[in-house]
Amino acid sequence: MKRLGPWLAAPLLVGLAHADYRLETVVEGLEHPWSLAFLPDGGMLVTERPGRLRLVDTDGELREAPVAGVPEVFAEAQAGLFEVMLAPDFADSGLLYLSYAYGDLSANNTCLGRARFNGEGLSAGEVLFCASPAKRGASHYGGRMALLPDETLVLTLGDGFDYREQAQNAGNHLGSLVRLTLDGRVPDDNPFLGDGSARPELYSIGHRNVQGIVYDDERDELLINEHGPRGGDELNRIQPGANYGWPLTSHGVDYTGARITPFRELPAFTPPLLHWTPSIAPSGMALYRGDAFPDWQGDLFVSALAGQQVRRLIREEGRVVEQQALFEELGARIRDVRVGPDGYLYLLTDHAEGALVRVVPEE
């Protein structure tokens, strides 16, 4: 049993029985793996932040040569290759999406690309979207993606760190979520479309660095997690067109200890469902739907870097009522958590010699 401290704003406690699980290392030697996607044939694609896409075949073996045809990325500090996501019709089309940083240290941001995967390499690559403006530094890119049921996708972005006030400016993409059609166009019902001064791709604004995103089809909810500064990591329920307040509101302070804002919440902004103070540095996020762990049905799983754990969030009517820290025994920064088609959880550890770890029931 794991008991967490009393510092989190949301109800935590946690006196849950530990689920009986076993951790299995599937693949080692991945350099800062960032994201994975499950292929229909049972294989997996894994991104490595320096700019490589790796194939784990159906036998669980890591193909030595990276997948060819990945776009050139700007790899520095937090920048690099981020997420890989299969198109809904991947089995027929072979199309997949990649998010990545473009540019150089003085001018860069997040891009979304699409390409065709034939089992060996990528072809017919095209850039669908690039966030603007290009900014200086190598921090805060977002880079996560989720598919919505209306055949659109949402891409998360970051505020570029030094540009935090721009998260309130709908005239650019910094610190926002954008929604696009599957071929990169602006959907005609995007919430900022009628505002001539706003970027039409915007879906929500006022974010710092969105690192996890999940669409809950049963509740018809889009959920994201985002890094706060020192404290103030957030879980947010996304409403189209809403403003989540950064940097006008935050439960955290700057890394130097300075107040970024005197306001934790303000009426004009949508408050988080939950905040983590002190920070756990949330990274990926998954919604559990599967047969392997019946007790976890419908729970959210949030991987954490600084926290070196996966936080299980138990919800009632969409409200987080309890939390449980899992997989701390790995002693690793965890970059991503996914639910495989087999119902097992899959974790990526964020190290120069990172690993893909599978969580299976004990028996």
Binding site: G137, S139, E165, D254, G257, A258, R259, I260
Partner: protein, 149 residues
């Protein structure tokens, strides 16, 4: 008679205090100005409260940075006076400001984020913070002048 090292040490401590406290207050005002520019109303109570919170939350870390900067800059200025015989009231403020600017530059190069102290993202914020260091350098010069007069 006060020992030879006591006056410079007292001057250093006072310079550290002045630079740190002024810098903390200055950066708070810059951060609040950025928030106010986004449309938030900052009352006097909020301003005073946030300034006080930063004196507790920000100033200790900033003091460490300032201490290192001044510990290098002020003795170097004393040594360098032989080749650059500026009046102490100009020499030490200049040295303190340059030392702090170097500390900002090194911190930004080493820290994972582009700019460690948000107020120094702009030229005006950086100059204001360096102004605080110059004030500290002036206090140091006054202390030394008091000893030698």
């Amino acid at each position: 008679m006060m020992a030879r090292w006591k006056t410079p040490l007292l001057g250093f401590v006072l310079a550290l205090l002045v630079t740190t406290l002024s810098g903390s207050l200055i950066q708070t005002q810059f951060n609040l100005a950025a928030i106010a520019a986004l449309g938030a109303e900052i009352s006097l109570t909020t301003r005073l409260g946030t300034s006080a919170q930063d004196l507790l939350g920000f100033a200790p870390l900033y003091a460490a940075m300032v201490a290192v900067a001044l510990a290098v800059a002020l003795p170097l200025a004393t040594l360098g006076w032989r080749w650059l015989p500026l009046p102490p009231g100009l020499l030490y403020p200049l040295a303190a400001a340059l030392g702090l600017w170097l500390a900002f530059t090194i911190a930004d190069a080493l820290a994972p984020m582009p700019t460690l102290i948000a107020a120094t993202r702009s030229l005006s914020g950086t100059l204001a913070m360096l102004g605080g260091a110059a004030l500290g350098g002036l206090v140091y010069a006054c202390c030394r002048a008091g000893r030698t007069s």
